[in-house]
Amino acid sequence: MSVAGELVVIGGGLIGAALAWGAARAGADVTLLDEGDIAFRASRGNFGLVWLQGKGLGHPDYMHWSIRAGRRWPELARILGEESGIDIGWRGGGGLHFCCSAEEMEQRRALIARTRAEAADISIELLDREALRERAPGIGPQVLGASLSDLDGEVSPLFALRAFHEGLVRHGGRLRTNFSAREIRRDPHRGFAIRDASGAEVTGRRIVIAAGLGADALARQIGLEPRLMPERGQIVVTDRVAPFLHHPASAIRQSREGTVLLGSTHEDAGFSTATEVEAIARLCRIGTRLFPALRSARLVRAWAALRIMTPDGLPIYDESPEMPGAFLVTCHSGVTLASLHALDLGPALARGDLGPAPRSMRSARLAVHPT
């Protein structure tokens, strides 16, 4: 069986789904391919922050790109809500990064100074304990203060993903799950042909590889080498607690439902998504230090998911030089950047280019130069 279309996006995580939604909304004929119920899927295991504080320092293009994403999030949340009727749980109003020692306060101060020096279009201030208590009355005695930035926000990444999937279909796109792309070929008549192991085929005039950790094997077939690596992150979540935390924050997040997320760790564990008691215990320790009352909350679940890391930690937005019309998109903050992917990049791909994505983020920067 073969399905033909204009644009085929491989990978139905937050990146692929946002791009597919944006392209379909701009009028393109889009097919989104995704694997089955169980797969490596960062989009289903992340922390849900739109986080800008400190992001991209030393990398002006990435910094401005991220900040631009932060500014567009309220608009994306509104459109998704109106279109799908799904409340994706967007909450802006400034993100808190808590400090529990004088040293941490000093580090935050330095970060704020650097952000100003690099002319970032974001305002970050340092709150002392008293100012912080007005915003977060339940903090523990060890919390000395926090940095607060105006652009940080949070969202339910799962509901956002669902809104993209449902919205794609509403805009005339197709979602095809249980399709694990294996082989990409140029097709003289139809652009590209993509096959899975069972021989099922999907063709499109243009393709976008947005397959998370699965992108490496596919990108090689279009002549690109992103050399992606997994990085494990563990998160725990509690039962529903009456609302007490009214800001997004970097180590603790209270969802709209009331559940509290504590996370996330950064570990090199290959492709293992197992959790470890020691790591979970540390997350809980941090949580109870920030908000001591949390001690009595009940842990409902602990999980691990894999981040998708490029060698230099920056996103890749690229088009294959050998096979024009074949694109690659990957990044490690796919929640934060989803607004740009959906509102700017998707429509650009519908036209056939990478639109506003900075050229410095092509994968050529990662080429291993012969010495």
């Binding site: 089955g36 119920d37 993903l161 799950t177 725990v236 039962d239 008691v277 215990a281 540390r282 949580g287």
Partner: protein
């Protein structure tokens, strides 16, 4: 911390049989159970029950006393009111008791966590006053409580009749049975009758017939072939049960018990990554096991209802079979004649199983309830939302969980899991194995953030 030869999880007949034998042969065994004493589902409270109540519960119940005494004498280390909240593939078991959390390690695990009642989502099943029939029986065994006022027992399976008979013995007569088995079940069961007449089959059949006879003699009303069941509040603190049987019925009741058989409690096994198989006959998943009752993980054995529902005697014997396999691996001598005799005894007790499974099979429409029915009790997700999400392309239970929150609540998908899998299979047109299952993540039992935080070895 020293390593146990074996940790046995669950002190029902399977765990009792396994731990006793292991300890008697000199193995270092730890047996844990979250309830306050040994017995499991069938012999719950056996050591503390007053004589009057034991008389109501019957001879199968009393039979537990001897096995529990043997366990006490065996030298196994016993830990009650102790929950296994996390089990790792390397034999690490994390426990929680009144003293907090602790870690134990073993060379072999014997999982004997038993069964749970199959969830029965139907209109009104979440109303206060509606419980499982097993739940009502627990109240009787554990606490000597018998519902007052008109009670309907709705469903199918041996436990329906057993509990009804126990009610009668205890003097309760305002009782009605609403049987949901399809008339065709009898026909489907017939081919399995010859085998059921072998081994201990006739004893099981006689027991079942005895219960039915007791109900008939007492003049208890039995409605058969009940369909389109729905429950509503009666506006006066009671309940109204509607169903289509021979004609339409509307009964006013003070309590309703639901039951559609029991299924292996596979939560812990799934968290370990044991391979699961679907049994069309039992309408349930069970772990793959070899002759020695070893799961797909070499040092994890599974005995009793957790491996496939077979009842108390089978559980007890399986506990012993698994124990003998573990003893052998530990380097102990095991009499091969004893092994084969125990295996034979188990088979004899299983003779009537295929017949029983077919007689009491849940009606197919009960497994995929109507749109308005809540499938996930915790997050209140309805079957209609699940169907719509599947129709829109959701790949299976885990994607449903991500998109709808079903299975994300405190019960961790134990209750809605079977329904999510059934709906996935039905709507996507795939087998139950292909439909998949909610990924199980620890903790398996509730643990507080404070308790876990206390495990951190250093300041973060």
């Amino acid at each position: 911390m020293s390593r146990w030869d074996a940790i046995v999880i669950g002190a029902g007949p399977a765990g009792i049989g396994g731990a006793s034998l292991l300890a008697e042969r000199g193995a270092r065994v730890l047996l844990v159970d979250e309830t306050p004493g040994p017995g499991g589902q069938i012999w719950r409270g056996i050591e503390t029950v007053p004589e009057s109540r034991a008389a109501i519960l019957g001879p199968d119940y009393r039979a537990g006393a001897a096995e529990v005494a043997r366990l006490r004498a065996s030298g196994a280390t016993l830990a009650f009111s102790t929950e296994a909240w996390r089990v790792e593939p390397d034999g690490t078991v994390w426990l929680r008791d009144a003293g907090g959390l602790r870690r134990e390690a073993a060379r072999h695990l014997l999982v004997a966590t038993g069964a749970m009642e199959r969830p029965v989502p139907l209109p009104g099943w979440t109303l206060p006053g509606v419980t499982t029939i097993g739940g009502l029986q627990i109240l009787l065994k554990r606490e000597g409580l018998l519902p007052r006022g008109p009670l309907a027992l709705v469903g199918t399976g041996p436990l329906v009749y057993l509990y009804a008979a126990q009610c009668l013995t205890a003097g309760k007569r305002d009782l009605v049975l609403v049987d949901t088995a399809r008339p065709g079940a009898m026909l489907a069961a017939l081919p399995h009758l010859p085998r059921a007449l072998l081994g201990h089959g006739p004893a099981y059949l006689a027991k079942g017939a005895g219960l039915l006879w007791q109900l008939r003699r007492a003049g208890i009303a039995v409605h058969t072939n009940a369909r389109q069941i729905g429950i509503e509040p009666d506006g006066d603190g009671g309940l109204v049960l509607r169903f289509l049987g021979r004609g339409r019925h509307r009964l006013r009741l003070s309590r309703i018990g639901l039951h559609e058989g029991v299924i292996p409690e596979t939560h812990l096994l799934r968290s370990l990554g044991c391979r699961m198989l679907w049994s069309a006959a039992a309408v349930a998943f069970h772990p793959a096991r070899d002759r020695d009752l070893c799961s797909s993980l070499g040092h994890v054995h599974v005995a009793g209802d957790a491996g496939g529902v077979g009842g108390a005697m089978v559980a007890l014997l399986e506990g012993r079979i698994a124990a003998m396999a573990i003893l052998e691996r530990l380097g102990h001598q095991v009499d091969p004649l004893l092994v084969s005799a125990t295996r034979r005894a188990r088979r004899a007790h299983l003779a009537a199983r295929p017949l029983i499974e077919r007689l009491y099979r849940p009606a197919p429409e009960l497994l995929t309830p109507p749109d308005e029915v809540v499938a996930c009790r915790c997050e209140e997700v309805r079957c209609g939302e699940i169907r719509a999400s599947l129709a829109a392309g959701a790949a299976g239970p885990n994607q449903l969980k991500a998109f709808l929150r079903c299975g994300m609540g405190p019960c961790q998908g134990r209750i809605c899991g079977p329904t999510l899998a059934q709906l996935t299979a039905r709507i996507r047109g795939v087998t139950m194995e292909e439909a998949g299952w909610l990924t199980v993540r620890p903790p398996l039992r509730p643990v507080s953030v404070g308790e876990i935080a206390a495990l951190a070895s250093e300041e973060p």
